[in-house]
Symmetry: C2
Subunit: 438 residues, 2 copies
């Protein structure tokens, strides 16, 4: 990897991870905090420091006027990417892949020691319970905030998960930021074929150095599901605001529905797969989930990145859609109103998009319910224009799926066929009445 | 109004509203149905016919191969735009403004008589109960599906509502399609100043010629709220799936959350104003709502239409944002992830947008909860770039508000101040715990 601005800056100033420093910015702002490891995949324009309140901030290198080391780090940081504790016979084997986010970041800022919380030792110190559930192999893939997640990272996670499962692990847990966890769980649901073991995404809404953190309960329940008899891509997060149980949601039907609550993740238009308690009790809420089986997990991560989501609103013009077509986008997921509508004066532009080979898919901004383009004339005109109605798929899931489908074919007939084929529970045959706002 | 294609076509073929016709399209498709009145404000490219199953379809004039009149309309259609029944002393006065949508369209296709269901006679036939609640003055403003709603129509509704209230009516009911009702209720909340009487939006999820229609209950409850002591812009729709009661939601906090359920409208991050029963019982669920008072209702409908909503997703590039800036948009509402984030590599483009005078506002695609740009470094970078955090406003409400604010000022400091000023309950000071998924 080329040397980034932050690497040069740290070298020039003799900064080590864990140093307590005072930074003065050109506009006079002063920050005091501990130097954090630069994110492996960040552009490297910023120096990350952890403030006394526990939050990380990024200071633009170019904005720094002066810097002063208040206290050198007490010990050299550990950044082992893989470390295995002695294996206990009789326990299942679980690999925990770190990708970043609140759950993965931990700093012992009392001593000044800094870890990208992903050695077995660190995990054991933070959440010792998981080592009684399984033999844990932690592996830090990268360390990014989930708002910076991209399709190329989805592919890397899919390959690493498959590699672990095919090398004999009983399950995989993926520690992930919560912002885009639902997109990643959908991506893995499509990219991992012939799934024979559990793949569980987990995150936390409060970092582990805050008393109200949900990190421990979520990670324990996620490890439980990773050793359970359910071969699905799942999101395991708090099921209610207390620390009593978690819910295991199907990866294609789950959405972050609240900015800050711990029980933010919800199954939309579907029932969660299971309730999971930290002590290992699992109550399955349905019986149509995939169970463990034999065989190699396959990775099919072909993905067309020129796909966009376009939300419809009163006053929207055709400009944005036409721009996407002009720019060579291959697919557009519309987040329509109601049953799946756009203003009628957008329909000619949609017709032209389809005629020029762009796959245009319809979902609803209502989120709950199912699109139906047969009820009103606007819908029928959209159908006639070639719009693909995405049943009860979430807009986010339809976006991920469309990128994956277009990675396999650009024939619009075939795209439609694949979009309407249920690959990973993303389409339910009918919507259960008791799934609204649950 | 200039003569549209559909007017010419109907004249040429001697078609009358109410005629039963058979249309053959160039591709061989055959439709049989009753000729409906062309929407007043539609571009006029289509002939609207009502099929036997009760649905309306639009047939493109250019696609018609041949046409045959199966049966002439039995009576001339009534299209009076205003008709008042004898006034009953002692009852309050309520104007019902028709704008279109499922609740407003009704055809007696057995007899072939067609009405844009908006004479007093028609309303009395459909929902006689409302004439015992108030002296009803119906007025059809236009007849469009709500997916075709636009800021210019919001202005017209605002002016007509104010006109009715200022001429002595006790309340106004606005019949509106459900797709974009939440946008319109937000627009009226900002456009109607010094509101001294109720303004109630109402719609239906099932048309009144279907047995499961919610049109009657909703219209009765809406009329009840229009005579109640609550001077707010409200949406009144089914509160649960049965026909027992409706909820009156504050116009800036309400959202359509399900494509087809009758209890689709929900207050987000807030408690509804009241429960309303058809028999007139009203249970207020809070005490901080505006009550009736004296004084003229003011209309302030200045509105900047060059505003857009942009939803953030993994893999989004800066292209769309840059395109909007290049096209001269004055405001952009981002529907960010989690607490209000974009990928870090979009931030330079956001900085440039703000530098060139574009107001960039942040909301969350979680819908529930509040944005907070102070928790993570990405958020702080966005704040530093000049992004305006929209508290717990719905993305849709923030979009409408930004257009309204930009209609008043293009000074970004002033825009920020106005966006963070609570004009119509769009910002709650803190989020009540019991409002999640209710």
């Amino acid at each position: 990897m080329r040397e980034r601005k932050v690497d040069v800056f740290m070298k020039k100033n003799g900064l080590k991870i864990g140093d307590l420093i005072k930074v003065v910015e050109k506009d006079g702002t002063v920050y005091e905090g501990i130097v954090m490891p630069p994110y492996e995949l960040s552009p490297g324009e910023t120096l990350t420091i952890k403030l006394d309140n526990g939050y990380n901030i990024g200071v633009l290198i170019d904005a720094i006027e002066s810097i002063e080391v208040v206290e050198k780090a007490k010990e050299a940081p550990k950044m082992e990417f893989r470390e295995v504790l002695p294996r206990k016979e009789g326990l299942p084997d679980v690999t925990i892949l770190g990708t970043g986010g609140t759950i993965a970041s931990r700093i012992d800022y009392k001593t000044g020691a800094v870890h990208a919380a992903f050695t077995a030792e660190e995990l054991a110190k933070a959440v010792p319970e998981i080592f009684d559930i399984a033999n844990i192999t932690p592996k830090l893939l990268f360390n990014i905030m989930s708002e910076d997640m991209k399709p190329e990272y989805w592919k890397r996670i899919a390959r690493e998960a498959a590699k672990a499962l095919n090398s004999g692990e009983d399950g995989v847990v993926i520690a992930h930021g919560t912002d885009t966890m639902g997109y990643t769980s959908a991506a893995l649901s499509f990219m991992l074929g012939n799934l024979t073991k559990p793949v569980v995404l987990v995150g936390s809404q409060r970092s582990s150095d805050r008393p109200s953190s949900d990190a421990a309960t979520n990670l324990i329940c996620a490890t439980r599901m990773a050793t359970a008899d359910a071969a699905e891509v799942m999101v395991v997060m708090h099921g209610e605001t207390g620390d009593t149980y978690c819910l295991a949601h199907r990866g294609t039907k789950v959405r972050k529905m609240h900015t800050s609550r711990r029980d933010t993740f919800r199954s939309i238009n579907d029932v969660p797969i299971a309730k999971v308690w930290p002590d290992g009790k699992i109550e399955y809420l349905r019986d149509d989930y995939r169970k463990r089986s034999e065989g190699e997990v396959e990775v099919d991560d072909r993905f067309e990145e020129r796909v966009a989501i376009l939300k419809i609103y009163p006053g929207i013009t055709s400009e944005l859609l036409e721009f996407l077509v002009d720019k060579g986008y291959k697919g557009i997921v519309l987040e329509g109103t109601g049953l799946g509508h756009t203003p009628n004066d957008m329909i000619p532009a949609i017709e032209r998009a389809v005629e020029s080979g762009v796959a245009v898919c319809m979902t609803s901004q209502c989120l709950y319910g199912r699109v139906n383009l047969n009820v009103y004339s606007t819908g029928r005109r959209l159908l006639k224009a070639g719009v693909i109605p995405c049943e009860d798929m979430l807009p986010e899931t339809a976006y991920v799926k469309l990128g994956w489908v277009l990675g396999h074919t650009d024939d619009l007939g075939e795209v439609k066929k694949m979009m309407l084929t249920n690959y990973a529970g993303e389409i339910t045959p009918y919507t259960r009445f008791d799934t609204f706002l649950r």
